[in-house]
Point group: C2
Chain length 408, copies 2
């Protein structure tokens, strides 16, 4: 017998940098019964997932599928499959998740260079161009929106810079996919990965990925099929074997292709969830969804300012779905978060590294990027700030947020 009762999590509004509350349709879809790994209905669902994520990534890439793990698993699968030990890689580093790309690449054994921006800014295009010319990398890697700083790196034209230098490009879009526009083909970037638990409105645990033909060729050149399942119709490449089995995208793509090479056992329930996330996104429409996230970002920013708070970072490059608010002098940031959670059942985020203890992060993502949730959060924040001794103009935050939301 077990001494732990039925699951009964509190009904909490998650307005931090993710995870956020999943769309109820997604959670319901995940209760469908399982299928055999190679049953025709299962492989049909896999093919549907591939088709559903292409528009979400803004791509026609054949190789658009899921990595079975959290968003971080998608990042590592992309990097370990693209980059061999000794390869020169350039990372655009403007926050904690840029630092994560460097750290994963170091473990892979890459020769890592970076072009950095201070937290709260992005890397200027000229700096990227100069760094690419200097480093001559085989791969350029960047985060799209880095929730640690709330900044979104502009990616228009990145692909051209890389292609002209003969480099492949990788973008970590975990925190923006489904909320801000992802335009893999127009940007000309080769590999983009995401996660479900932010603007896609699902739970963490599945990482959508898209891979260009050029990147797929590089990856397949490193194909080394496991001895136990070798087949005459699948040839090994001449490149260095990929350093991980689970993250070997050559084998994962052979699994998602009509070859159906046996690899992991696809996480069916997470696939059901990923499929429903995509259906919800495409039914709303990508443009409408981006507009809704932009309205939420405007509303949080305007509301915070009307409460007399300072918003962190460069306004021009702010992510629409997460906003960092400077903790005012004399206010205990953790006490505010605790009251928000305990009195209002609202979670807002803390911060990392140089911003730890300096900012809160308020997210409005996916199912939670909605007018009433932003207004409720700002109303609660006002009450909590007042209780913590920080005088705010009564009602001003909610009013300003509402006006900003409607001011499309």
């Amino acid at each position: 017998m077990t001494r732990f009762g039925d699951l009964d999590p509190p009904q909490r509004l998650l307005m931090g940098p993710g995870p956020v509350n999943a769309h109820p349709r997604v959670l319901r879809a995940m209760s469908a019964d399982l299928l055999g790994q190679f049953d025709p209905e299962m492989t049909a669902y896999m093919n549907e997932v591939m088709a559903l994520y292409r528009p979400i990534f803004g791509t026609e890439n054949r190789w658009t599928f899921l990595v079975n793990g959290t968003a971080r698993a998608g990042i590592e699968a992309a990097l370990v499959s693209l980059v061999a030990p000794g390869d020169r890689v350039l990372v655009l580093d403007f926050g904690r998740f840029g630092a994560l790309l460097k750290e994963i690449l170091e473990r892979i054994g890459a020769e890592v260079s970076s072009v950095d921006a201070p937290w709260g800014e992005v890397v200027p295009r000229e700096a990227v161009e100069a760094a690419v010319a200097r480093v001559r990398p085989k791969v350029v890697a960047t985060v799209h929106g880095d929730t640690s700083t709330t900044m979104a790196q502009p990616l228009e034209g990145l692909g051209r810079i890389c292609q002209e230098a003969g480099a492949l490009s990788y973008v970590d879009a975990t925190a923006t996919i489904g909320g801000m526009e992802i335009a893999a083909d127009r940007w000309g970037v080769d590999v983009v990965t995401g996660g479900l638990q932010k603007c896609l409105g699902g739970p963490s645990g599945s990482a959508p990925i898209t891979v260009s033909e050029a990147a797929a060729a590089r990856i397949f050149s490193r194909r080394h099929v496991e001895k136990g399942i070798r087949r005459d119709d699948i040839q090994d490449g001449t490149g260095l074997r990929i350093g991980a089995n689970y993250f070997d995208l050559a084998m994962v793509m052979d699994y998602w292709s009509e070859k159906r090479l046996n690899h992991h056992t696809e996480a069916t329930t997470m696939l059901y969830g990923a499929r429903e996330c995509a259906r919800v996104v495409l039914e709303e429409g990508l443009a409408a969804r981006a507009a809704r996230h932009a309205a939420a970002g405007r509303a949080v920013t305007a509301g915070a300012r009307a409460l007399g708070l300072t918003v962190f970072g460069d306004d021009r490059y702010r992510m629409s779905n997460v906003t960092a608010i400077v903790i005012p002098e004399g206010v205990d940031g953790e006490a505010v978060r605790r009251r928000m959670r305990e009195d209002f059942e609202i979670e807002i985020g803390t911060a990392f590294g140089p911003l730890a203890g300096r900012v809160w992060r308020i997210g409005a993502m996916g199912y939670n990027a909605r007018k009433h949730k932003v207004l409720i959060t700002l109303g609660a924040l006002e009450a909590v700030l007042r209780a913590e001794g920080f005088g705010t103009p009564a009602g001003a935050g909610v009013e300003a947020a509402l006006a900003a939301w409607n001011d499309g």
Copy 2:
């Protein structure tokens, strides 16, 4: 708009080597709403999961938790965290999943030796002892039950052999956990990993793991915390940095400990599922559950023999939860599987490598290790075999299976 409709998978009985149908309670638990990653209720659920899996692994190990990925992710996390490039490792290889251990270890850069048994047998204890003495490995790795051959390696005493040689030990229990006894402490083995999608009766996508103090010490000696989140209370080790970030169990254990070091975003919905799997298992009781799987294995074996079929492999070491049946001369194995699926909505398994095309594999695992499901499967198989021109004694399979089930 999307052109794909609501999820509506067929109501299929999955009697292959896994995945199998999940317990409905597990799927329902997975529809609970999400929590913030470090919310006290979330970390309380994480602690409950640790407590729930200890008896299932037969251990008191503090470090009993989940790796966020399929069973294969658990295997790779264990091996890449335990084994550094150049380390000597001995693998017990008696099927496809032993070959997988070798292939993962080769990618890690280990010096891999193996002691092999033909498919359908297990590695004799004396052969293990001799190989350990010869190789002097730092780590000994084995599969418990290898579904490719349906054999279960006896593990009683393995820990002593390893400890006397100064080696750590790893066991892949993906296919047996929750169905056959796992006795990590009594066996004296250091790291054991599993998956939800077989005898635990859940979906693929979460890998329970247990790690002994000795193994944890080795892993923490390799700790290198990411630069972006270094803290004064967490010291790096002097060992070689672990080759993967996502699978770095030092960081994953710091995340599951009271340190709550930020790493991946825990896959909450999969954690809810893993928690409910464990509750279902412990409510039934481990001994009762093992007995139910044993009854199912007896019934499938007796039923197949009564139909005039040959059961593959050594009876003494047969896994209780999956049975390989030799495809009779002149029968088209794939035609039988197709009729089983299309006429009866029952999936039975195909096979790999040397057994491809030679055997079917019938699983009776977790929620599907039940009398009526075994009887229905054997009844259907009889009808299909007759339709495919293989004469069987009418009704004999079901009758023999029922007798064998009841003959505890």
